[in-house]
């Protein structure tokens, strides 16, 4: 019974990934022929099926960029960076896209924070977990070696791997907490209205946001999102005005 179920799952999974490959190739074909709208449709349909890859987000971002939809292009590149933080091509295109977005709000650089942020942003949560588990393995081997040989060389290795294991574990925890508590989104609509409460009322309008800006999502309801921006503004916007980075 389990065997049949496994085979079924495997075959359907393969079928889906094959159709994703076809759609991806179609999207690339459309892109090559400057049919960027069709390319976006093909790429987005892969995402709607639940499949993703850093390359897909990269290509999708490029298609949006070519249509001057810099808000969606930024969203795609930011998603690509989340999935593959050390992808230089995505980073390159993201920087160029940010330059195209008017009225962008970015936090001024801070030397120490930047170093920490750059380090944490260069790896995914999975990378840290993998590193920690590998260090745990080396740590356990070096401990066993020490028990057998009782050599000082083994003690050195043992402490070194133990430190790296705890470092990796700490980074994983920090990264996990950061990802849990910091969900961001990209404003999609030009002149998105910020309200002080989740209601459509002229009296509670606070200010305007422009498309392409990255904001932090504080809480959500069915139709509204509470956001805070890099310049300290906080309020509610409608769900259709934003695309979340998760």
């Amino acid at each position: 019974m389990f065997k049949i179920l496994n085979i079924l799952l495997l075959t359907t999974g393969m079928a889906f990934s094959q159709s994703s490959d076809l759609l991806f190739n179609d999207g690339n074909e459309y892109y090559n022929n400057n049919q960027f709208n069709d390319a976006i449709k093909a790429y987005e349909s892969i995402l709607n099926k639940g499949f993703y890859s850093a390359d897909l987000y990269y290509n999708l971002g490029n298609a949006y960029y070519r249509l001057d939809d810099f808000a969606n292009a930024r969203w795609s590149y930011e998603m690509g960076i989340i999935k593959d933080p050390r992808n230089k091509d995505i980073f390159h295109n993201l920087v160029l896209t940010k330059q195209k977005i008017p009225n962008t709000l970015e936090i001024p650089d801070s030397q120490i924070l930047n170093m920490i942020n750059n380090f944490l942003a260069s790896f995914t949560y999975g990378d840290f977990i993998f590193f920690s588990s590998l260090m745990l393995l080396f740590y356990s081997i070096s401990l066993t070696l020490y028990r057998i040989t009782l050599s000082t060389y083994s003690v050195g290795l043992y402490y070194c791997f133990m430190f790296l294991f705890f470092l990796g574990t700490s980074c994983s925890v920090i990264k996990f907490l950061w990802e849990e508590n910091n969900i961001f989104g990209i404003i999609l609509n030009d002149e998105t209205q910020l309200y002080s409460a989740p209601f459509l009322n002229d009296d509670i309008k606070i200010s305007l946001f422009f498309s392409g800006n990255k904001v932090k999502i504080e809480q959500t309801t069915d139709k509204w999102l509470e956001i805070s921006s890099m310049d300290g503004r906080k309020g509610w916007i409608r769900l259709e005005d934003i695309r979340t980075l998760e």
């Binding site: 990934s17 994703s20 490959d21 991806f24 690339n28 892109y31 639940g50 499949f51 993703y52 890859s53 390359d55 897909l56 990269y58 290509n59 490029n62 298609a63 960029y65 999935k83 091509d89 980073f91 390159h92 295109n93 920087v95 160029l96 896209t97 330059q99 970015e106 001024p108 650089d109 030397q111 930047n114 170093m115 750059n118 999975g126 990378d127 977990i129 993998f130 920690s132 588990s133 590998l134 745990l136 393995l137 740590y139 356990s140 081997i141 401990l143 066993t144 028990r147 310049d231």
Partner: protein, 567 residues
């Protein structure tokens, strides 16, 4: 039914409304003449509540409300009426209406009748009056945004005390108060002596404002109303003594008087041929620009200050749009307005711009021009600042850390990925599976020492059992394959005893071996084993025939089989 009820309600209210009367002593009054306005309600014995706010635009209340009751007995029938009255004064000349006012009686609402008053403009005859209010307007024909200073001065020839003042309100103007007596103690030296038409007056500035028109049109400035208390000689009291000052107080009486300032009109015309970058400055201005630091590191925030100094509508000027170099991020900063304490008319407005340079190099913030309407020259003018040179130096940190700077020079995005990609889903992540496997392995390695010792013991036990079982066959194999039976028979016995755990080691001599196995095998068998061992040691180095050696072999096999049957 509902219709009838509605009709009855309307009928009753109309009957009651007929019992509400409004009246004034005279409908023809002068601008500075106060009069009584009374509302009388018949056949009612409760205090009415009246909302007079609708009439306050055109009239000012000097005194009131005063309540009154009137009881009448006609043919033995008692009738009661209530009245409520105010002493009011008109704020402007012309035909002014006292609107219908809402009267609340026992929770029900009624409306009074409308009255029209003819208010005539009285020419101020300063010669005849012993006190008056004077209004001075700096300019009555101005442009939008041009400053108009309005000053109210009180002149008097007799001892007087200001009871209350109603300051005018100015619609359609941005108002800056230049002098407001509220909360200030007027000192005797603040009064000025002035002679008008041969009469000596004392004068004092009561109120001064700077008005900035916001739209074009003709605007009437409301009058200022002051209630004054004076002491005047009572002609009805004859003096009992000659000009004795001590008794003079008897011949004086206190009198309240109302003073109303003259009404002025200001004509405001619009500004024509406005420059494109006009942000509302009207007056006379000069401009200065500066930066917090002209040598800064790339990425370090700095502030650019633009200061407009002069006389005019400082509060109504919009932030000028400045074209800074492209490599700067610009954020609007604070706006600071400073008023000159001495005249309160001139001052300065400073706009701050927060700049963050993003690329090193030498930059120039070009001269900034702010157009304004010069009220002195009655024409457009331009306030122009000096250009500012900036030196943006390299930032060591950005140089080494910012990946952005490497990308900035690139003009186009990189091309799409055409090769096959590895698809992932939310649930599929190999890295977690691998990590889980590694962690399990590590845990196993950690715990391995705990399992090794019992495992060794187990293996040892198993091997002992196997040896025990195969002890006889091993001994027999040795005997059958032996070339020297006198050597191998004791050896086979030793190995057998060792495998059967009768002895710990095979390295025992014959006597020690007998001693060790004594009690573990039967006495008869022990004697046979001892004889075999002795015989073998005896003939070990002697040349004995094969027939004898075969005997000893058979004897050994026989005794080992016998011992094995019960050990």
């Amino acid at each position: 039914m509902t219709r009838y009820l509605l009709f009855i309600t309307i009928f009753i209210s109309s009957l009651i409304s007929q019992n509400i009367e409004t009246f004034v002593v005279s409908k023809n009054i002068d601008i500075d003449q106060s009069f009584n306005f009374t509302i009388k309600i018949k056949d009612i014995d409760i205090d009415p509540e009246v909302d007079i706010s609708p009439m306050l635009d055109n009239f000012s209340v000097i005194m009131g409300p005063n309540m009154g009751s009137e009881y009448k007995f006609i043919n033995g029938k008692k009738s009661i009426s209530r009245s409520i009255s105010w002493t009011i004064i008109a704020k402007k000349p012309g035909q002014i209406k006292i609107p219908r006012l809402e009267v609340v009686l026992d929770g029900k609402q009624y409306l009074t009748e409308e009255l029209t008053m003819n208010v005539s403009k009285k020419e101020t005859d300063t010669i005849a009056t012993d006190m008056f209010l004077k209004i001075e307007v700096s300019d009555s024909d101005v442009k939008i945004g041009e400053q108009v200073i309005v000053t109210y001065t009180f002149f008097t020839r007799i001892a007087s005390k200001v009871l209350s003042t109603e300051f005018p309100k100015y619609k359609d103007f941005w108002v800056e108060k230049l002098f407001d007596p509220a909360g200030k103690q007027i000192k005797p030296e603040a009064w000025n002596d002035i002679e008008i038409n041969g009469y000596k007056y004392k004068s004092i500035k009561i109120y001064e404002v700077a008005l900035f028109p916001l739209s074009e049109g003709k605007f009437d400035l409301n009058s200022m109303i002051m209630k004054i208390e004076t002491k005047e000689k009572d002609p009805g009291i004859r003096r009992l003594f000659w000009e004795d000052p001590f008794f003079d107080t008897f011949s004086q009486r206190t009198k309240a008087r109302i003073l109303v300032s003259e009404q002025k009109t200001i004509n405001v015309s619009k500004l024509i041929n406005k420059p494109k970058d006009f942000t509302g400055a009207v007056g006379s201005f000069d401009i200065m620009s500066s930066v917090s630091s002209d040598i800064v590191e790339n990425g370090t925030p700095m502030t650019f200050y633009l200061k407009l100094i002069g006389e005019g509508n400082l509060s109504n000027i919009g932030r000028p749009i400045i074209s800074f170099p492209d490599d700067f991020d610009i954020f609007d900063g604070e706006i600071l307005i400073e008023r000159n304490i001495t005249d309160s008319v001139s001052g300065a407005i400073t706009w701050e711009y927060n700049l963050i340079p993003r690329k090193e190099g030498n930059y120039i913030i070009s001269a900034i021009s702010v157009p304004f309407f010069d009220t002195e020259k009655e024409s457009w003018n331009l306030a122009k600042s000096n250009p500012i040179k900036l030196n943006i130096t390299k930032s060591a940190y950005i140089e080494s850390n910012s990946k952005d700077s490497q990308v900035i020079d690139s003009k186009d995005i990189r091309y799409i990925k055409l090769s096959d990609t590895i698809w992932k889903t939310e649930n599929s992540s190999n890295i977690y599976n691998i990590s889980f496997f590694i962690i399990l392995t590590s845990i196993f390695i950690f715990l391995a020492p705990l399992f090794i010792k019992p495992l060794n013991n187990f293996i040892e036990d198993q091997s002992m059992v196997l040896k025990n079982k195969s002890a006889l066959s091993n001994a027999l194999k040795l005997l059958k394959s032996s070339d020297s039976l006198y050597v191998d028979c004791p050896k086979a016995i030793r190995f057998y005893c060792k495998d059967k755990r009768l002895i710990d080691s095979i390295n025992f001599d014959s006597l020690s071996l007998i001693g060790k196995i004594k009690g573990k095998i039967k006495s008869k068998d022990l004697v046979i084993v001892e004889s075999i061992l002795n015989e073998c040691s005896q003939y070990n180095y002697a040349d004995i025939s094969t027939k004898d050696s075969m005997k000893i072999q058979q004897k050994t096999i026989k005794i080992l089989n016998k011992i094995d049957s019960y050990v």
